[in-house]
Symmetry: C2
Subunit: 257 residues, 2 copies
């Protein structure tokens, strides 16, 4: 029996996602990358720019999961309150971080830009935090205990995650094998698929119908076997393909295009 993988939770902080203004683009990136490094994402919460909500969510999830990632709210404006809230959640001061102040002061001086109070907020971190320097933004993300605080802008968030990832103690990568077939309905395959799941209890077998709206009759089902055991994933996918053939369908490797 292999050691179970560490787990992750993502907190997406921002009114703009809850209002529909912004379509989140970070969940899928992090879900995929975390699966690859064996720290599967187990929960996501999207929460508003409200201190009590942020503090409660950080404290609830940092106890429950091995890693908590946050996105959003670390810029210079009044609605960027993640830093204060993380500090409050940990019960530590939110204070100027001298090495970050020095790096940012040099950066702004070199551009003739004022390092004003708003920009100083981005050099202000919870006491005990370790900055996540990155190639895209001069303002860093940071880690405090098992909480990793990142930007909401996808390009910056991705740079922060990739700077952080080598330091994370990953587990076994989550392997995935997808088979799809057209002209078959979930209601036909459900019973057989349930038996496959029962034979591979350590795997996660999923069934996802698809339909091309413009092409009548082109729909079908995509079936996914996921897990950390490569042999079991391959064996389950083989059983799923056999099941599809028994039902008269033609299984095709991969997701439908």
């Amino acid at each position: 029996m292999t050691k179970p993988n560490p787990t992750a939770c993502l907190l997406i902080i921002g009114n703009e996602v809850l209002s529909g203004r912004t379509r989140d683009a970070n969940l899928q990136f992090l879900a995929t990358r975390l699966g690859e490094i064996g720290i599967p994402l187990r929960e996501v919460r999207v929460i508003p720019d409200v201190p009590a909500e942020i503090i409660e969510a950080v404290n609830a999830t940092r106890k429950k999961y091995d890693h908590v990632f946050t996105t959003g709210g670390i810029g210079p404006t009044h609605d960027d309150i993640t830093g204060e809230c993380i500090s409050a959640a940990f019960g530590v001061p939110w204070e100027a971080h001298p090495p970050t102040v020095a790096v940012m002061a040099e950066y702004y001086a070199g551009r003739g830009t004022e390092f004003n109070a708003a920009r100083m907020r981005m050099a202000t971190l919870p006491r005990g935090a370790t900055p996540i320097a990155n190639a895209v933004s001069i303002a860093p993300g940071y880690t405090i205990e098992n909480v990793h605080v990142m930007a909401g802008v996808p390009r910056i968030m991705q740079a922060m995650f990739e700077a952080l990832a080598p330091s994370l103690q990953g587990g076994n990568p989550i392997l995935s094998h997808t088979v799809h077939a057209r002209g078959i309905f979930e209601g036909q395959i459900a019973e057989g698929l349930s038996a496959v799941q029962a034979r591979f209890p350590a795997l996660d077998i999923g069934s996802y119908p698809f339909q091309q709206v413009d092409v009548p009759g082109s729909g079908g089902v995509a079936l996914v076997a996921k897990g950390t055991d490569a042999a079991a994933v391959a064996a389950a996918a083989g059983e799923i393909s056999a099941l599809l053939r028994e039902l008269g369908a033609a299984p095709v490797e991969g997701e439908p295009t």
Copy 2:
């Protein structure tokens, strides 16, 4: 003082979103539509196909919010466990719903399709639930108390929501006014914007930087005033535009394109 709006929470149920396989397409639709009918979305959770997690999330959120919407997990396969979990959360039996059984039996008979055990799962509802009949899927969503259970497939979910929406007691629509300007940074406007927020405490003033990666120098800031008071939203947007002009920028109505 107008009556405060009712609030909403969305539970996205499905391993496929947490693994990165599927990019959720329901959050933004529901966020936008709920804002329009004055039941703003205050929280979203994405949770796995694990009964204890689903039951806990349903019970935590149905007490906290006026409405809880769920998407996903109401199909015929073994990983579609939302119905059992909603029943367990409410402490009621999960049982065949005779009117739904009749409608579905007639539908399948008309197509010469077997109404098998897997498909019967879709006619099995928590006791006391009211089906949400819709134009797209024969299998209904349903409402039990303040929890609205919908499909994960966006086209079906949207049909269920639109069938349900007229029966929801909405509040005041959330109005939004966006102004953007290029060649300006959040660090320049933060102080003035904070003063605007302070003058309009009932509004939600947001600042969102944008950048066209391919066009250097094309970046800027989009500033959003949101609230239920049309006069206040317009006044705040006017102050934001004036602030941008003071800083030498040229405010433009709407989101950047």
